[in-house]
């Protein structure tokens, strides 16, 4: 119950956070158009050097696989954002209602709009998958043209797609994947035309992100052509730090197909979401009369499945019904404008109301600010002092020139001395202030040298005294040193790789399952049997590596418990190690190894699990008491809500599943 509330509160808060920059007329959406070069060199498979994985992958196919991966991922992470696939240099052409092999009568010869720029549909996902997985029919499209495609035309084609399909988007990006670093080496006018068309895209607010691929015999050199095409930052991306590295990615893929695919994936993944800020240019006040400006971002945020919606089945295809909410006055049922609404609080059985001005004044805590109150060692921040995800800040030169160097000095000092700053934090106009710990973060890169965590400062909102709950009391017993040592041996066996938590290794199993099922339903495929869940512990390894230590510890616990709590306690308290019951003559074995059983039972019976099991075998589960049923279900992670009949059903189901 409490937890349900919790999620709801959180959602409201998040919605609030999404409302970025109210002054902008653009809608906060992202459109990504892949432009993939389909030349013969792009289509040449690159054999794997690894004899164990004899897969051949061509650069074009790697790009398509990445595009497919990104499309699937964005359906989950950015359900309102658009994606499209434009192949260029193809023999045939396709642009909306024109196309075919006749390249004379089309607007954009050798440009093949494979997936129109839109929120992807299930069919489009399926088509792209077919193309990426080398299905023959699809391969008909992947034929390179004999004549060279004009890059100016490709760029203008992209321009038209963005103009008509994604008007007014805050972020529009062209992902260009090619291994040709000088497409118009011998034609100066085509080259100039390309520069002009690139400038058009820039003025339209489209960012070109180049994913260059080196050829086995030639390194991709951006200075030959693409430095004339690519701009430092799109004008619409006012949030980009001014000295951000140009939006080119390091050339990838001198090596084999697999490593090419991996580095391309890693590069594209790092660009999969456009940088959206939580707040821009707010002052970071280091002391009275000393401010610099920073931008804030959310780099960590819980991704939830999209909410369910209503589908109308009355038409030819199922359609999502849009809900329209109108607010009406209860007395006259007239429609009410938002500005008329006043807020009132329930108090003493009546409503206490405030004028709009008063309500505003109550919520007004001043302009956005991050104000440093003082510094403390990092160790002063308790591990529990947390209420939500952090925000990340990075300097901006927009309001104060010199912000970056000051920020850098502060960040380096905090890193060096392991310190934090205590700050008074108001993220946006009208948001509630909080105290936050500002902690330094170092840059981290992955094995492909792609940045995983940027360098900067993190703001961790602290709980107020109101938010700290008293800890419930319980009877504590100091564990003897040898018992702790025994547990240390167990724990020492089960370190995670590099002794760190790497979020990338743990996709959210319920989120993935949700969309896996939706995909199967949408594409009319069979629903998969069982989910892939990377968060499931590696039980076999645990048994192998730590099993003996666990048993040693368990024996010691028994011994100490006997000594500390005596015989009376042992008969009513639980055992902690439970041995697999399957392969042993249970009763006898249990009697020897486990004089006491797991769960405390009123009345002194010592073995709940076995009692319940025996009752089940006799068909007499219904005769057990409700408290026994509940205890049993709780111990096995089952719900305990409902009437007795429900509990009995659940217990019976539990044993039936085991059979």
């Amino acid at each position: 119950m409490a937890e349900d509330n919790y999620t709801r509160d959180k959602e409201e808060e998040e919605v609030d956070e999404e409302e970025v920059d109210e002054t902008n007329y653009r809608s906060v959406k992202d459109a990504v158009l892949f432009a993939i070069d389909i030349s013969s060199s792009m289509l040449t498979p690159r054999p794997s050097h690894d004899p164990k994985k004899p897969t051949e992958i061509s650069p074009a196919s790697a790009a398509l696989k990445c595009a497919y991966h990104l499309m699937q991922q964005r359906i989950i992470s950015n359900p309102n954002d658009m994606i499209g696939i434009l192949l260029y240099g193809t023999k045939s052409s396709k642009f909306y209602d024109e196309g075919g092999d006749d390249n004379d009568n089309v607007s954009y010869p050798h440009c093949y709009l494979f997936t129109d720029l839109d929120i992807p549909s299930a069919d489009e996902v399926k088509h792209l998958r077919a193309l990426a997985e080398n299905e023959e029919e699809a391969q008909m499209i992947l034929q390179p043209s004999e004549e060279r495609v004009s890059m100016a035309n490709v760029l203008f084609c992209a321009n038209q797609i963005f103009t008509s399909k994604a008007p007014n988007f805050l972020s529009r990006r062209l992902f260009l994947v090619t291994d040709e670093d000088n497409p118009h080496a011998d034609n100066k006018s085509l080259r100039s035309a390309s520069c002009v068309r690139a400038r058009d895209l820039y003025d339209l607010g489209v960012t070109i992100e180049l994913f260059p691929i080196s050829r086995p015999d030639h390194d991709f050199n951006t200075s030959r052509f693409y430095d004339d095409i690519i701009y430092k930052a799109a004008p619409s991306d006012g949030e980009a730090p001014i000295y951000l590295q140009p939006d080119t990615n390091t050339a990838t893929g001198k090596g084999d197909g697999i490593s090419l695919l991996n580095s391309l994936l890693s590069n594209i993944n790092s660009r999969s979401v456009p940088r959206r800020s939580l707040f821009t240019n707010i002052p970071l006040e280091l002391g009275p009369n000393f401010k610099i400006s920073v931008n804030g971002y959310i780099l960590l945020k819980k991704q939830e499945p999209a909410r369910s919606c209503y589908v109308w089945l009355g038409g030819e295809t199922p359609q999502i019904a849009k809900g329209v909410t109108t607010q009406m006055a209860e007395d006259t049922a007239r429609t009410v404008e938002k500005s008329e609404i006043r807020k009132a609080y329930k108090f003493g059985g009546e409503q206490i109301s405030f004028t709009t001005d008063e309500q505003q004044a109550l919520r007004d805590f001043g302009s956005p600010i991050i104000r440093i109150i003082g510094f403390k060692p990092l160790s002063a921040l308790p591990i529990w002092a947390n209420v939500k995800h952090p925000s990340f800040i990075y300097p901006s030169e927009e309001d104060y020139v010199g912000s970056t160097r000051v920020f850098s000095a502060l960040q380096q000092k905090l890193v060096k001395d392991k310190k934090l700053a205590l700050v008074w934090f108001i993220p946006r106009k009208n948001s509630t202030p909080c105290l936050a710990a500002m902690v330094p973060g170092d840059e981290k890169v992955d094995e492909n040298e792609v940045q995983k965590v940027p360098p900067g400062l993190w703001l961790i909102p602290l709980p107020f005294a109101n938010d700290v709950r008293p800890s419930p009391e319980y009877a504590r017993y100091s564990p003897p040193d040898d018992l702790v040592d025994a547990m240390c041996s167990v724990v020492g066996q089960l370190e995670l790789p590099k002794k760190v938590y790497d979020a990338q290794k743990y996709p959210n199993p319920s989120l993935q399952w949700h969309y896996r099922i939706l995909q199967a339903l949408a594409l009319d495929e069979d629903v998969p049997e069982s989910p892939e869940d990377k968060t499931t512990p590696k039980y076999r390894q645990m048994d192998k590596r730590a099993g003996d230590y666990v048993l040693a510890w368990a024996e010691l616990v028994e011994e100490k418990a006997q000594k500390m709590f005596g015989g009376t306690a042992a008969s009513t308290k639980s055992t902690l190690v439970k041995r697999g019951p399957k392969d042993q003559g249970q009763q006898a074995e249990d009697a020897i190894n486990h004089p006491s059983k797991r769960i405390k039972i009123e009345g002194g019976t010592s073995n709940l699990d076995d009692d319940v099991k025996r009752s089940f075998e006799r068909g007499a589960v219904a005769k057990l008491t409700v408290s026994m049923l509940k205890e049993f279900l709780t111990a096995h992670g089952r719900a305990t809500a409902g009437k007795k009949a429900d509990l009995v059903d659940r217990v019976e189901q539990f044993f039936e599943e085991k059979m």
Binding site: P318, D533, M542
Partner: protein
Amino acid sequence: MADKEATVYIVDVGRSMGECHNGRSVTDLEWAMQYVWDKITHTVSTARKTACVSVLALRSDSTSNELREDEHNSNISVLSKFGQVLMPDIRKLRDAIKPSNTNRGDAISAIVVAITMINEFTRTLKYKRKIVLVTNGTGPMSGDGLEEIQKKLVQDGIELVILGVDFDDPEYGVKEEDKDSHKALNENLLREFAEGCEGDCGTLEEAIAELDTPRVKDVKSMPSFKGMLRLGDPERYETALQIPVERYFKTYVAHPPSASSFVARSGDGEGEEHTDSRPNQGEALTAVRMSRTYQVNDPSAPGGKVDVERDDLAKGFEYGRTAVHISQIDENITKLDTFACLDLIGFISQEKYDRYLHMSNANIIIPERANEKASLALSSFTHALHNSSYYAIGRLVAKENRPPMVVLLAPLIEAKYECLIEIQLPFAEDVRSYQFPPLDKVITVSGKTVTEHRNLPSQDLQEAMDNYVDSMELDHKDETGNDILPIDESFSPLLHRIESAVRYRAVHPNDPLPDPPEILAKFEHPDEELVKSSAPFLDKLISKAEVKKVPPRAKGRKRQRETEKPLSGLDVDALLNQEPKRANISPENSLPEFKQMLSRAENIETIHSAVKQLCAIVESQIKNSLSDANYNRVVEALGTMREELVDYEEPALYNDFLRSLKSKLLAEELGGDRKELWWLLRRSKVGLIDKATSDMSEVSEKEAKEFLSPN
């Protein structure tokens, strides 16, 4: 469930309470009532039926109490009987509590009356019993039978609090000069009386000062998970380990009370307002209801949309833009089957953990209650993590079929408490990789690494920063001298502001709201002493940093100029000039060509011409728009035009066009009903350019606002 409460407030309303003393601008009674109202409204805000309050007036003109037969008990009247206090009671009390015309009435007798009332009301049931007496101690008091009364109070478990106006309190630092000797006697009597029955007697000033410190509600936590902490799979391996544990909130954001929406009642029938039972409300309000309808696209319908019945709709989800409906039988098909459990995944080094990975509020994990062996076992686990500097990574399913979470389990071992702290960690999908350049070096376009740059601190700046940071060290420590953050002293400002405003307004419906207490802003600014002592270091830092504020005007276009070149620095404008066809703006590439035309404009005529051409394109886009097909393009064009003309300081060109566009839209001259577009333009904030946005504008902010207003 909190205990039932029975509290009697005895308020001295004697004639002398109506006077102002010791330089205060409020009467003693008004001052005393600040305290009493605060206490009473706090109780009201809990909305608990079992928190019962009664109010007695002492030294009142009349006498009305159960023991009135006894003449000792005259001039004591019950203003409100025991019960939950609601708004009508507050209004009644507010009117009733006025200074009387008498100074007669014995405070000790009032306490006796209160005891009787409490006993009658609570009988032998379990209650928290309390009597609060507020007086200036100038009335007559008889010291007869005090001992017996004290005995009774102790015996019945009644807590007694006496607060006196200007009572001396050397500890708090209150001493009334030239105190009336009668009052001094009374003070002594009351103090000794309170001390003799384990009660409190204090000075009112202190009690009122304490009101500003927010009271934090103690919330009893319920376990959010009860089950097994497991290492390994007990179904398959005999080496699996299970410890029964429980999980509780450690932190949980306390939200301010939620408000509901109201609008002014439509002004029909004047008489109604007079008979309104709530005279404190300036105007009558009526609730706002939500009504929800559902629409689907239908090209054949006017407006392209038709309403559908809620009953004709199936539940479903979006997969991309494909609607996937799910039949009722399969309702939970997309839900992962899980069982409640806290599984350990592995262990990581404390040293290498990045604190910013914390994603949620914190919970604590403690052993199952009354299970000694579980307590011992969990403690050995906690100590093992602590001793070998590990955190555990776990997979938690709090209830059957809830989604699994990956959590951090950290040992917390304090002198008086120990537990595991549990916090959610991010999944792969929760991490957004936005890239930012390094802060300790600059990599140039050509790929060179530079360590001296205007964006990097010089050695001098770094030193100045180091010294400043060191000079601003906070000194919060716990009892054992460890560094701590002042979490205990920080209170949620919004929560307390709203709560206290509601309580104030309930009692003072017609007064403006008071300023919020200073304590809520305690951490808004650094401590003054600290600022003073670190000032020289700050001055040094400022001089080394050489930070310059960008004047607001320069923020726009001019600074972006330098970025309007590709990486190579190629002069694309020169190429553009060679393009013959770009003299006129083409509709399909209108925005880039508009911007380019402006940027190359050498005279005002070119700007006028560019604007005129774009305006014509916009109008034709509207005219030719099938339903709302072109609307977003129109918004983009207007937004771009607006931005550019602000930068080029030609707001009038935009404002003129927008005015004419508005009248054309509303007159349906651009292809019929375009109200939806007008609505969209309003929402998109592409209204008139006002003076605040551009100095050159002649449109006031008010005018700009009215221009966009619905009527």
